[in-house]
């Protein structure tokens, strides 16, 4: 155990319909080698021992690839630091005596379930609206070189595909826009020959679902790109805009 002393101001909300409020918690014995989630584990362990309700927060892989952990820490999605999720945020980023504000993702489309855990199933519904190829991809393996793909396109598609769907883009955006997420999911297919046959239908359906979920509009502030743990580029949003404009104009 370490010797950092911190004050946490954490959003507590008993359920989706509860009013909710910020509550202060002192945390002692924090090591700078802990991850932010481990520090919360320490606090929860403390709360449980005292018979209090532990703080609910999402987490799973704790190695930055699952997209489960969220948290708006000191005014930034996944806290200070770039290209990291909250599980990859270390307490050495903070100083002894710091006050740290911890809030859930804030968006109409991401309702709070409890405390810091939000419902991100809006992303699943957007994905289900078109983020796939309908051709069967299992059991009928084709030769990898049967369909030549330019290296640059393959790289860009892979960059887009690294999106873990964490929702930091929405949480960060002043408009709660989901454009970076949807753009990544559109781009990863739009750039590859396998995604081309359904490209038009895909972008129209996914954008329609995105609007239905109540996300805001993109005003190109670029905040999402800065806060994205995977560094998804705004270029993908432009690509989606191109795809969408072309599909809107040429659809039958």
């Amino acid at each position: 155990m370490g010797n950092m002393k911190l004050t946490l101001k954490i959003w507590r909300q008993n359920g989706p319909n509860d009013q909710g409020k910020m509550v202060s918690y002192p945390v002692n014995n924090v090591s700078e080698d802990m991850s932010f989630l481990e520090m919360l584990d320490v606090l929860n362990d403390d709360l449980v021992r005292k018979g209090e309700d532990p703080i609910a927060f999402d987490h799973d892989c704790r190695e930055g690839i699952c997209g489960s952990c969220s948290l708006f820490i000191n005014g930034e999605a996944h806290g200070p630091g770039r290209l990291i999720t909250t599980c990859q945020l270390h307490m050495r980023k903070f100083k002894d005596g710091d006050t740290i504000h911890v809030e859930p993702w804030r968006a109409e489309a991401f309702p709070v379930i409890k405390d810091l855990a939000v419902n991100r199933s809006a992303f699943d519904r957007i994905q289900a609206a078109g983020g796939f190829v309908t051709v069967n991809t299992s059991g009928n393996l084709v030769d990898g070189n049967a369909v030549p793909i330019p290296k640059d396109d393959a790289d860009k598609a892979f960059d887009a595909a690294t999106c873990i769907g964490c929702g930091a883009c929405v949480a960060t955006c002043v408009n709660s826009s989901a454009m970076l997420f949807v753009a990544a999911k559109v781009s990863q297919f739009a750039l590859l020959p396998q995604g081309k046959p359904e490209a038009k239908r895909r972008v129209l359906a996914m954008v329609e679902q995105m609007d239905k979920e109540g996300f805001g509009n993109c005003s190109n502030t670029g905040a999402c790109e800065v806060e994205c743990p995977k560094g998804i580029s705004l270029e993908h949003i432009a690509r989606m805009n191109r795809e969408y404009l072309a599909a809107s104009v040429t659809k039958e």
Binding site: N220, T221, L245
Partner: protein, 212 residues
């Protein structure tokens, strides 16, 4: 939003080019400006484009208003602690506010000159062929003898500069025009445009005030 924004940007260039004639305050310069003002309010092709301009201004403002309402609704519960400066520029986030200020300014600006030119009772002078023509020049010159009016124009051109600073390059991104080779050029042109155009616009009232 992007298309009307870019059209309005092009308008700014023509508007500026025409109005830089105001810097020539000699009698010949005044005559030339008044002839230019008459041409701009009577030539049929200019009239057609001016209706497109009025539509663009109204559409740009109305669409911006609708989008802002939607964006507000998209986050009903605000963050208690925010640090927006960590990832984006303030003027990029405040486009609606900057746009509203510009709209209010446009109402004042158009009431004072555009409305007066079209329907107002303004003095006339004679052109080279001896026909009477409206003396818009003296209306402008009189307006810019007032310090507060000059100050308003200078401040509002600062507002316009920040609106353009984000808006110019943002329009290209919205239209899907983002390319590793061309986007840096677009961004640089956007900064140049956002700085130079408002400075020249602001120069006109300042120049007329000093030389009055």
């Amino acid at each position: 939003m992007a298309l009307t924004g870019l059209f309005l940007s092009i308008f700014l260039i023509t508007h500026l080019a025409g109005n830089l004639q105001l810097l020539d305050m000699s009698p010949e310069g005044q005559q030339k400006f008044n002839e230019y003002a008459r041409f701009m309010t009577t030539f049929p092709l200019v009239k057609v484009v001016s209706y497109l301009l009025y539509f663009s201004i109204l559409f740009h403002a109305f669409d911006g208003f609708l989008l802002t309402i939607q964006n507000r609704k998209a986050r009903p519960v605000k963050y208690a602690y925010e640090k927006p400066g960590a990832n984006s520029a303030w003027y990029a986030r405040q486009m609606a506010l900057l746009g509203t200020l510009i709209l209010v300014f446009l109402v004042i600006h158009m009431k004072h000159f555009w409305y007066e030119m079209h329907w107002g009772d303004i003095p006339t002078v004679t052109d080279t062929s001896g026909k009477p023509m409206k003396d818009l020049y003296s209306v402008v010159a009189a307006a810019f003898t007032q310090l507060w009016y000059v100050a308003l124009y200078v401040v509002m051109m600062g507002v316009l500069a920040f609106h353009l600073l984000h808006g110019f390059q943002s329009a290209f991104q919205s239209l899907g025009l983002n390319h590793p080779r061309y986007t840096p050029i677009i961004k640089n042109v956007g900064v140049f445009f956002a700085v130079v155009v408002p400075i020249f616009f602001a120069l006109i009232p300042v120049w007329m005030f000093i030389n009055a």
